[in-house]
Symmetry: C2
Subunit: 141 residues, 2 copies
Amino acid sequence: MTVTYDSVGKGTELPPRTYRVTRLDLVKYAGASGDFNIIHWNERVARSVGLPNVIAHGMYTMAQAGRFVTEWAGGDPGAVADFGVRFSAMVPVPDDDAGAAVEFSGKVLEKLEGNRVTVDIVARADGTKVLTRARATVRLP
Amino acid sequence: MTVTYDSVGKGTELPPRTYRVTRLDLVKYAGASGDFNIIHWNERVARSVGLPNVIAHGMYTMAQAGRFVTEWAGGDPGAVADFGVRFSAMVPVPDDDAGAAVEFSGKVLEKLEGNRVTVDIVARADGTKVLTRARATVRLP
């Protein structure tokens, strides 16, 4: 079921979704992004520099937020016209198959012309907001 | 100093070289090769399945052997016409900056026509042969 511009209004909530991120995802993302910072794949070093665990690349979490909005808007990544976030907390990723859960929710802030809406996104890991001021402008069918 | 076809004979030894392989190399190789097998980057799982540590991708060690021959032959990877190895032991990679050392040595087995020679390569990690029957046919200047 795809939302349409006509079916949403200010305050319409996006159905929440949880995406997981595992150590394997981070190893793959390191290769794909070229960001091989050791805190994203080596727990010994991550803890030695004061981190709670290996942490996810911030851009990975941002990408998940983009996926959240894109899926809601019908699946076309090209529908996202504007997208910005502030990274407010880390996503620690435990060394197991389940990894970390990042919960996404959001609501429509404003309806714009041209079938576009502005969406406010909230991302939480373990109850903590990991993205703030996460906003996307997206074109709806 | 590049070797030349005229300057080598059967039994000529390649100057030995040691190449290191670190955990970071394996994370990068995973992304580059698409081989994300967990035994190449997760020590907990590697040990739980009976391995001595995270181990290097066999193809990574083979690639190092290829580099060894290529550098000896003047640097052109296209000079290697034939290349085969048998993987005889694992290369465990410790979780530190130094990683594992793989020592390469070799000698000319045979001179062929067309400025080509067949080279026998030995690769050792911690004194153990990790590649056997490692042979390359390479064209020399």
